[in-house]
Structures are given as structure tokens and as C-alpha cells.
């Protein structure tokens, strides 16, 4: 190894030149201050909640594959959402249709059915419990809106299938 050291003695003398390369005067006086200033900015950003967003963006900046897969996952999620949003409509319709048929099927022997109340605009059947409720509850709103003044306020009465 000593022979090797001697072989490269001249080279090592030349490499000593690198030690004389110095940065501009005063460079190291400012260096630590710059580092600490950047750290303070980083702490401030993390305190204000910006850093996670910045890190998030940085992840995608450095890894385009990850950005692509994330975008793909978002698209899949969107497609799934659209498909899923359309499916319940198709299933709800038969349910509603069966609900409209329900009063006849359940109104056996004069038993009251509250499954599908009929909505009517007329004021009748005061003997009806539901009707009495429907008559009394809007009356409290009448002083405020006036009778039949508010287009959204409608009187509702429920009639039993037997009546």
C-alpha cells in the first residue's frame, strides 16, 4: 500500500489544490442563518396547515406513475359513483308502485291502513282522527300566512278506505 501511496504522491499534491477553492467571502457567516430561516418558514407553514398539501404535491411531482395511478383511481371512483347512483332509481320505482297497490291488499275487514294515506285538498271527514289533526295543525299557521294565501301550505286530510 505504501508503494501505491508513493505512486500517487504527485496526484495527491495536485488534489491538494482543491482545498484552496473557497466560496465567496462571508458565505459561511450567512449560511447557518439561511438554514434556520428556511426551517422557521417550514415550521410556520406546517403550523398553518400548508405543509401537508405541499408534501402531497411533491409526491406527485417526483413520481408521475403514482400521479397517474391516483388519477386512475379517482376516475374509477367517479364511474362507480355514477353507476351506483343510477341503480337505486331502478329499484325504487317498483317499490313505489307496490306501495300504491298496498291499500287494497291491506284493507281487509275494514281495518284501518296507514300505509298509503290518500292526500286530498278538500276539507271533509271531521270524524276522522287524521283529518282532525290535519285540520288543526295548519290552523296555527293561518294567522301567519292567511287561509289559502300561501301556495305551499295545503290542507291535508286522510280518509279510511271504509269511508
Amino acid at each position: 500500500m505504501n508503494n501505491n501511496e508513493n505512486d500517487f504522491n504527485s496526484l495527491r499534491q495536485l488534489l491538494a489544490l482543491k482545498r484552496y477553492e473557497v466560496p465567496p467571502p462571508g458565505y459561511f457567516d450567512r449560511f447557518s442563518g439561511n438554514v434556520v430561516a428556511r426551517l422557521r418558514v417550514g415550521q410556520h407553514e406546517s403550523a398553518s396547515g400548508k405543509s401537508w398539501l405541499f408534501k402531497w404535491a411533491q409526491i406527485f411531482e417526483a413520481k408521475p406513475l403514482m400521479a397517474g395511478s391516483f388519477a386512475g383511481a379517482l376516475c374509477l371512483l367517479l364511474l362507480f359513483g355514477i353507476v351506483y347512483a343510477e341503480r337505486p332509481d331502478n329499484e325504487v320505482m317498483p317499490l313505489l308502485q307496490s306501495a300504491q297497490l298496498a291499500p287494497q291488499s291491506f284493507a281487509v275487514g275494514g281495518a284501518p291502513s296507514v300505509v298509503a294515506p290518500q292526500v286530498a285538498v278538500s276539507e271533509q271527514s271531521g270524524q276522522n282522527l287524521f283529518a282532525s289533526i290535519s285540520n288543526s295543525s295548519p290552523s296555527s299557521l293561518q294567522p301567519m300566512f292567511g287561509q289559502n294565501q300561501n301556495p305551499f301550505a295545503q290542507q291535508v286530510s286522510f280518509t279510511l278506505p271504509g269511508n
Binding site: 496526484l11 482545498r19 465567496p24 467571502p25 449560511f31
Partner: protein, 209 residues
């Protein structure tokens, strides 16, 4: 103020093991004390900057990378277990950052060399080297500096790093092995190969042995 980075390695190493309580500074920095970390930065800034500068031969890149290395070290202090010295751990961060940077910038490197300290003109070894080449000493040193940096940039990153740490900064084989995460034999063989390469490229500027 003129900074002279030509201090002997022995003196630098003895400074790093000075009785100033480094572990206390690290502990305080880990708790977020930036004043303590400022002290740590001041302690190692010249060596970290110099290593990166000699690897990149570019002052602006070295400045950015050195700052980023210290920032990353601060952010990663919680993961510092104390298995090695803070100095070695910091060096590893700086070296990895620099090597990653150099790999990304392959073939896009350009020289932005620092000025030579005036003491270089009085270094007897360097004077002897250039005296036969050119009668104008200053021009000779600048030319030599350029050729030397170009030759260093031709080396692969691991070979360049070994030369910089050993022949320029005076680190021991053991310390370099710790920094590079390899064994001492690898360090020695890389150093030998790198010197051979440099000698071949710089043969016109070397004194015959």
C-alpha cells in the same frame, strides 16, 4: 473575511470531538430548538459544503444541496438513534442527497468553480507542479484547477466521493466506510481505481515520479 478551507484534516477531526456537548445540542434540536441547531450547523457547515462542492464542482448546486441536507437532517432528527455520531449521520444525508442529485443531472453538469485562496500560490507542492508548465503562475493554477475538476467529474460518483473524502478532506478509510455504508476493502479498492483513472487523465500536469 476570507475562509480558508485548507486546514489539515487532523485539526478538523479534533474539533469535531471537542468537549462541547454535541449530544446536548442534538437533544435540544430534536425538541425543536433552532438556536441549538444553528450551533450544529455552524459546526459542520464548512465540511458538508466542501464535500458537496468537490462532488459537484458547482458553487450554486453545493449551496442548495448543503442547505437542503441540513434541513432534511433537522426534520429527520427524531429518527436519529445515536448509533453513529451525528457528524457521520449528517454526512450520510448530504452524500446521499448529492449522489441522487448527480444521477438526475447526468450529462447536465457545468462547472461553477470557487476562487482559489491566495495561499495556494505559496503552497510549495503546487508551485512545483506548475512551475514547469507555465511561467504565469496564476494562470497556471486556474488552468490546473479547471482540468482537475473536469477529471474528477469524469469519475463515477462512488469513486469521486472516495477521492474527495480521503485525498481532499483527509478522512480515514474507516470513517469513509461508515459514511458510504460499505467495508474498508471496498473503500481502498475504489480509491486505488479512482487514483489510477485520475493519474491517466492528468498525466500532462503531474510531475514524473
Amino acid at each position: 473575511m476570507t475562509m480558508i478551507m485548507a486546514e489539515p484534516a487532523e485539526r478538523k477531526n479534533s474539533e469535531s470531538s471537542a468537549p462541547v456537548d454535541e449530544s446536548e445540542l442534538v437533544r435540544r434540536s430534536r425538541r425543536g430548538d433552532l438556536t441549538a441547531y444553528d450551533e450544529l450547523v455552524k459546526r459542520y457547515q464548512e465540511r458538508i459544503y466542501a464535500t458537496i462542492y468537490h462532488m459537484t464542482s458547482n458553487h450554486e448546486d453545493a449551496n442548495d444541496l448543503a442547505q437542503e441536507s441540513f434541513i432534511k437532517a433537522f426534520q429527520a432528527l427524531k429518527s436519529f438513534k445515536g448509533g453513529s455520531s451525528f457528524y457521520t449521520w449528517l454526512y450520510r444525508i448530504a452524500v446521499n442527497k448529492t449522489i441522487n442529485f448527480l444521477k438526475q443531472r447526468k450529462n447536465k453538469l457545468h462547472l461553477s468553480l470557487n476562487d482559489l485562496d491566495f495561499n495556494a500560490e505559496h503552497d510549495p507542492d503546487l508551485v512545483a507542479l506548475i512551475s514547469d508548465k507555465t511561467p504565469q503562475r496564476d494562470a497556471g493554477l486556474s488552468e490546473l484547477q479547471k482540468k482537475l475538476n473536469e477529471a474528477l467529474l469524469k469519475l463515477s460518483e462512488p469513486h469521486r466521493l472516495v477521492v474527495v473524502l480521503h485525498d481532499v478532506q483527509g478522512q480515514s478509510h474507516e470513517e469513509i466506510a461508515k459514511i458510504m455504508g460499505c467495508n474498508i476493502g471496498t473503500v481502498r479498492s475504489r480509491l486505488f481505481y479512482a487514483r489510477q483513472q485520475l493519474q491517466a487523465w492528468l498525466t500532462d500536469y503531474l510531475k514524473p515520479t
